[in-house]
Amino acid sequence: MIALARPLTIAAILMLLVACSSDERAPASDAEKWAMPGVYAVNYPLAYFAERIGADSVEVAFPAPADVDPAMWVPAVDTIAGYQGADLVLLNGAGYAAWVQRVTLSQSRLVDTSAEFAERLIPVENDLTHSHGPAGDHSHGGTAFTTWLDAGFAIEHASAVLNALSRLQPENATDYRDRFDGLEQQLLSLDQALKDIASRIGDQPLLFSHPVYQYLERRYALNGHSLHWEPGVMPDERQWRELSGILAKHAAAWMIWEGRPHPEARDRLESLGVRSVVFRPAGNRPETGDFMSVMHENLQALQQAFPTSP
């Protein structure tokens, strides 16, 4: 009988083992959640619009360090994780923040705030093409991306932020609309003030220290020529020679700078009959004030440079 019991026991154990090896899932751990909806932006104007419209109902983050140009900044992996965890990621579009193309983000949370006016963006030509392999000729040209300097576009950016926030929190849509209306009024006033100054500037030639003013130039019909000069850096002799050539054809009396120019550069420009005025694009968060206060400073600087005729 013992001989009979052994195979029966083995069979029973085998059956038990097979049965016990069935699916067992580990209990799910709670994911980290935001206390309130999190909104990440790729530049300061969008973060500002989200802060103005969302107020205290959303947590807005714009993690770029203060000393970088957010357009060229590449976030670290930890910072990318922040963008990945956000409920909304506000993109400027127009190729701004190229790093977005090289990271993994939830497609459903991305909001291209310039999608509505994509066909009105300004292409930046790169004359140099190259070819390798079967892909044929191609260039790495892009699009002018300081879109918010056109106050009309700034309103459209803010409108896209409004729509995205309203979809995220429909219960707050009315509040968002009210706050957007206030912001829109301020941007329309800014737009009108810039148009008034532009009418005083008329067709007189201007210089821009950097090619970031394309939308300002087009919206307000300015006659500008862009250089590649960095504020705070004394241009080298090659750049001065290049400027002389430009001035011969484009007799500008004013150069518009992104930031305070190097004192020596400012003085040498004045010796050439070119005065300096600062118009900050405000792509990054200002040390003091906010987007609108920076724009009002810009406005004041232009009003001083181009005063109303007595």
């Binding site: 009988m1 001989a3 009979l4 195979p7 029966l8 069979a11 029973a12 085998l14 059956m15 097979v18 049965a19 090896s21 069935s22 699916d23 899932r25 580990a26 799910a28 751990s29 590449v74 992996v77 990318i80 994780a81 990945q84 190229a98 193309q101 090289r102 990271v103 993994t104 983000l105 939830s106 497609q107 459903s108 004359d127 140099l128 093409t129 190259h130 070819s131 390798h132 392999g133 892909a135 000729d137 191609h138 790495h140 979809r167």
Partner: protein
């Protein structure tokens, strides 16, 4: 009673060849219909569960089955390709969340699934270790894929070329493992997940190379004019995306035209799903929308029909086997006539001798039933995986 069982057992052990043949025959007759039923039912449940968890699939016009099998189980055959504009169109419709899928490439036998982070949320993935992929060239591996490839965080997996003999084809891309998923007991365990843009880089649609205008690339320039540079085959194209060369990777043209195998559409609600399906109702459209559960049900219906034929055949064979077994026992009784007479002469009562003979039959049947149960349990545990791999192959 114990002595009866003992004698019956000793007889079966002594005539072990006959016993083994009988037990095997009866085991198979019990197992075949039951096991087949278990396999079909469980495979059906596995296939249906995955299909039910995936509301809608959008792809190019073609075989719905190929679209569903590739999107749900990452089968080797990929369907007609659609493009990324489908994701944009669904997103713009505000009816559903659109999740891109590009399941075309492999690393050895593991499928590389190009998608977005929305897929991770949609499937409710948990990480055993690491984090989601953050930059191009990073990947997240499923639990089984990690075991099979023997990789963990910080290791690299390399995509396999589509064709070995195409020297001008796509070069393998080395991808760094950023995370390993916890087991999900689905086909996701087998997969390597990458950003869909990384999948496009594997295909060669995006690439990183030396700056042709830089002096370092002089040896790679075939022809240079004021507005064009033509590179020769010596141009260094990167086969790994690192922090140093990441900013050289780029895509040409409009990404909306880039290929996908499918788009998972997760409607906001039932009504949105119906409206979305209505938009693809046009027979002339280049795209199709399918409910995976419908496609898989049709597949299972086919399998069930085959199963019914097999079960009918097995029942007929089973009846023949039972008749043969009965014959074996009856013939055995004749052959054992002298043995039975001896047992009666030495004092064994007729009922006890009959009990012993019945015990032999009972032990054979019990052993067969137990063996069939063990095989059925093994089938229940491993069968669906085997069947799915057959179906997907």
């Amino acid at each position: 009673m114990r002595d009866v069982l003992y004698l019956a057992w000793r007889y079966l052990v002594y005539n072990r060849l006959k016993t083994v043949i009988l037990v095997t025959s009866i085991t198979l007759i019990i197992y075949l219909p039951v096991g087949l039923n278990v396999v079909v039912e469980q495979s059906g449940e596995h296939l249906t569960a995955r299909a039910e968890a995936t509301p809608l699939l959008v792809g190019a016009k073609g075989s719905p089955l190929e679209l569903a099998l590739n999107s749900l189980y990452f089968s080797l055959d990929f369907p007609e390709l659609t493009d990324y504009s489908e994701v944009t169109a669904i997103t713009d419709s505000e009816l559903a969340t659109a999740i891109p899928l590009y399941v075309r490439f492999r690393s050895r036998s593991q499928p590389i699934v190009g998608t977005s982070l929305d897929y991770f949320e949609f499937r409710d993935f948990e990480f055993a270790s690491g984090r989601p992929m953050a930059v191009l060239g990073e990947c997240v591996v499923g639990a089984v894929a990690a075991e099979t490839l023997g990789v963990g965080i910080g290791d690299a997996v390399t995509s396999s070329p589509e064709t070995v003999f195409n020297l001008a084809g796509v070069y393998p891309l080395r991808m760094k493992v950023a995370g390993v998923l916890a087991k999900t007991y689905t086909s996701d365990d087998e997969a390597i997940f990458v950003d869909v843009k990384t999948a496009w880089i594997i295909q060669g649609l995006g690439h990183g190379h030396q700056d042709l205008a830089s002096p370092d690339a002089a040896a790679s320039v075939l022809d240079r004019s004021d507005d064009n540079i033509v590179a020769n085959a010596a141009l260094v194209q990167y086969n790994e995306i690192t922090a140093d060369n990441a900013d050289t990777f780029h895509f040409h043209g409009d990404l909306s035209g880039y290929p996908l195998t499918a788009v998972v559409a997760v409607p906001d609600d039932e009504k949105s799903g119906v409206i979305l399906r209505g938009r693809y109702a046009d027979e002339d459209a280049n795209s199709q929308i399918v409910r995976p559960v419908t496609v898989i049900d049709e597949l299972l219906d086919t399998i069930l029909t085959i199963q019914q034929f097999i079960v009918a055949a097995v029942i007929i064979v089973g009846l023949a086997t039972v008749a043969t077994a009965a014959l074996v026992f009856m013939l055995s009784l004749r052959l054992r006539r002298r043995e039975i007479d001896t047992m009666l002469k030495i004092g064994g009562s007729r009922p006890r001798v009959a009990s012993m003979l019945l015990a032999e039959v009972a032990i054979v049947i019990v052993l067969s039933a137990m063996l069939a149960s063990v095989i059925t349990l093994l089938t229940w545990r491993f069968g669906p995986g085997i069947i799915e791999s057959f179906v997907l192959a």
